[in-house]
């Protein structure tokens, strides 16, 4: 499969353009919103801070959410690529497979029963939840006759997602205060996150980004089929474990800061494949950029759809992503 961008030069140029677009998206995210601000005001906020309302908003709200949105979008994009390649399932993604719901359940559990509040604890508990949910979905999907098939894995993931969602609901039912605290977070949002939160999760995400790029050659071999990968000298067990670990880091870390944000992980890899074909060395960076740009833009959209209130960005991505998801399914990905 070849994408519409052929040749390394054009792809490199497109990648640079992508970086450029993502910077513009972030600037837009800083400038646009309920409170009127301008680009010059945004620059002044850092060069000549005067303590005005607008400057404070830029410092405390706009800039952090642009950065958080970008980081989470990149992570979800890469997580989607890894999962789709690992499971050879074009609708694999952290949200469909219950990874987000698992992390969400563990975090809500922590908030209601263990009284955790710090983002650092959120993160570790989120990682744990992501790991538990993804391994359960994987084990469930490969149980029974016929071994692991894409459809079974998808169903198993959906079961895990439903399980964790209903358990989360069960906990919130008895605790209205906790509900108030976690409701906005549960919908998936990058609003109101402090830079310090991002700083705590960032090391884990950065490591996962770099490792994923290093793994992309191996992804190409793996995509040819497990037998071929073995005969090409790949240690598939180690590779699968490493890639799964990266998924957990990326999805768990994203959920810890932003809550479960759906559909970015499904849509983005398809878009990247449309651009650059089936070479994962290109798909991974392109997905990363597209994911970041999409989430930042969706977040800008979220400020305007129910103005003056804000919709959580997870709702916007779900609204945009569902039609696309249905399109992929209808295109007939599962030949059976």
């Amino acid at each position: 499969m070849n994408g519409i961008l052929q040749g390394n030069k054009i792809r490199t140029a497109a990648l640079i353009l992508g970086v450029f677009i993502s910077l513009i998206a972030m600037v837009l995210s800083v400038v646009l919103g309920y409170t009127d601000t301008s680009l010059s005001m945004a620059i002044e906020a850092y060069t000549a801070f005067n303590g005005s309302n607008e400057h404070l908003i830029i410092h405390l709200s706009r800039v952090p959410r642009a950065l958080v949105g970008m980081a989470v979008g990149i992570s979800l994009g890469i997580a989607g690529v890894l999962m789709q390649a690992l499971t050879r399932n074009p609708i694999a993604s952290p949200d469909i497979f219950g990874v987000n719901a698992g992390a969400g359940f563990f975090i809500v559990f922590g908030v209601t029963f263990l009284g955790i509040t710090s983002i650092q604890q959120f993160m570790w508990i989120g990682f744990l939840g992501a790991a538990v949910a993804s391994s359960l979905a994987y084990a469930l999907g490969s149980a029974g006759r016929g071994g692991l098939t894409p459809v079974k894995l998808t169903l198993a993931g959906a079961v895990m997602a439903a399980l964790f969602a209903s358990l989360t609901q069960g906990m919130l039912v008895t605790n209205e205060k906790a509900l108030d605290e976690v409701l906005f977070w549960l919908a998936g949002s990058v609003e109101g996150r402090k830079l310090s939160m991002l700083a705590e999760v960032m090391p884990a995400l950065l490591i996962a980004w770099i490792v994923s790029i290093l793994l992309s050659r191996q992804l190409n071999a793996f995509a040819l089929g497990e037998d071929v990968a073995v005969s090409l000298g790949q240690k598939t067990v180690i590779f699968k474990f490493a890639a799964a670990l990266m998924v957990v880091l990326l999805a768990g870390g994203s959920v810890a800061i932003a809550g479960p944000i759906s559909f970015i992980g499904i849509v983005v890899p398809h878009f990247a494949r449309y651009l650059v074909g089936s070479d994962h060395r290109w798909i991974v960076p392109f997905s990363a950029l597209t994911g970041g740009i999409m989430l930042v833009l969706a977040d800008i959209g979220a400020r305007f759809i129910i103005m003056p209130e804000e919709a959580p960005v997870g709702v916007v991505t779900a609204l945009l992503g569902t039609p696309f998801f249905i399109y992929i399914v209808r295109k007939g990905i599962f030949h059976r």
């Binding site: 949200d95 399980l163 358990l167 609901q169 069960g170 129910i306």
Partner: protein, 347 residues
């Protein structure tokens, strides 16, 4: 001695397995006992025997009042809701040919949930008063379930509907409706959000004869249809080609079954909320008892689903009393791990 009794008429035929019949009778007895106990246990304990006498119109007047006015309708709603959900799950698993399918997995419940939460938030003013009578909530929930079922079917249609497309589209729509439900909860006051969560979890709190009367026709109305569809569903398990070869219009049948399934799930969810995992587990347990022929599977599923919700409601009322925990918490908390265990055990 033969293993089966055979009943054959022009439009339906049954092979009645004697062992299955016995199992179903035992289940029916278990259902009856669990309902008796559930009626008896509460703030005021009434012994099962006294419950029986009260049901037949004798015994203490106070017991009679408590039982017929408050406890009986609640237990009945719980049983009918559970039975409907489990039946609907059994049908869906037959249509999709996959034991992981259930109305909560493919968005039918999600659509009902969204409609109900939208109702709670859109028709409530700043001081938490509902502008429309709460009696309309079931109507909204039912409409939500039906609309989603049509959406799933329509979007999955492409020269016919394959089971895989049905379930994948359903999963996608479920995610969408979950997001929309959260949006609705955020837009309304927190009091409504909290009320909506209870509803989304599934509860039979505060039900009366009104609910029983509204649910019963749906449940009873679907049963005769099922009797005719049973053997056709059995044959669908062999795959589309064979079913067509046997002279059955696969797509028409699939559509009808999906509608029956929606009607059952929709009416249950409308009155008892989105009770989780009953539709998934009920048929699974039933299959272990009666095997996978739908003639035995349907009654067994319905009974088991009913017992599950009745017991979950009993647990919710008593375990943390005076706090009332919605029954849905228990069906999910016990059902989900049990389900995982089942799947691993069948490996």
């Amino acid at each position: 001695m033969r293993k089966y009794w055979v009943i054959q008429r022009k439009s339906f035929s049954y092979l009645i397995d004697k062992k299955t019949t016995l199992a179903i009778l035992i289940l029916a007895l278990a259902a009856f006992i669990s309902m008796l106990v559930s009626i008896g246990v509460g703030e005021l304990y009434i012994a099962p025997f006294e419950v029986l006498t009260a049901l037949f119109g004798s015994g203490l007047e106070m017991n009679q009042l408590i039982i017929t006015e408050f406890r009986l309708p609640r237990v009945l709603v719980a049983f009918i809701a559970g039975a409907s959900l489990a039946l609907s799950g059994a049908i869906l698993q037959g249509v999709i040919r996959n034991p992981l399918a259930s109305p909560d997995m493919i968005g039918i419940t999600g659509g009902a949930g969204f409609a109900a939460v939208a109702f709670l938030t859109m028709f409530s003013d700043d001081s938490n008063n509902l502008l429309l009578s709460i009696n309309y909530l079931p109507l909204f929930a039912f409409a939500g379930a039906t609309i989603v079922a049509f959406l799933i079917y329509g979007l999955a249609w492409k020269d016919g509907v394959t089971p895989i497309r049905l379930i994948l589209i359903g999963i996608g729509l479920m995610a969408l409706f979950q997001a929309l439900t959260t949006l609705m909860m955020l837009m309304g006051p927190i009091y409504r959000a909290s009320q909506a969560t209870v509803w989304l979890t599934g509860t039979v709190y505060g039900t009366s004869w009104k609910e029983v009367k509204a649910m019963l026709p749906w449940f009873l109305g679907m049963l005769p249809i099922l009797i005719f569809l049973v053997r056709r569903l059995n044959i669908q398990g062999f795959g589309d080609d064979l079913t067509t070869g046997a002279g059955i219009s696969v797509h028409r049948e699939r559509f009808m079954l999906l509608m029956v399934c929606t009607a059952l799930a929709g009416s249950a969810v409308a009155f008892a909320g989105a009770m989780g995992f009953v539709g998934l587990i009920g048929p699974h347990i039933a299959r272990r008892i009666t095997g996978s022929s739908f003639g035995g599977l349907f009654p067994a599923s319905a009974l088991i689903g009913g017992i599950m919700v009745v017991l979950a409601d009993l647990a919710g009322r008593t375990l943390f009393s005076p706090l009332e925990v919605p029954a849905g918490v228990f069906t999910a908390a016990i059902g989900a791990p049990y389900f995982i265990y089942l799947l691993f055990k069948n490996q």
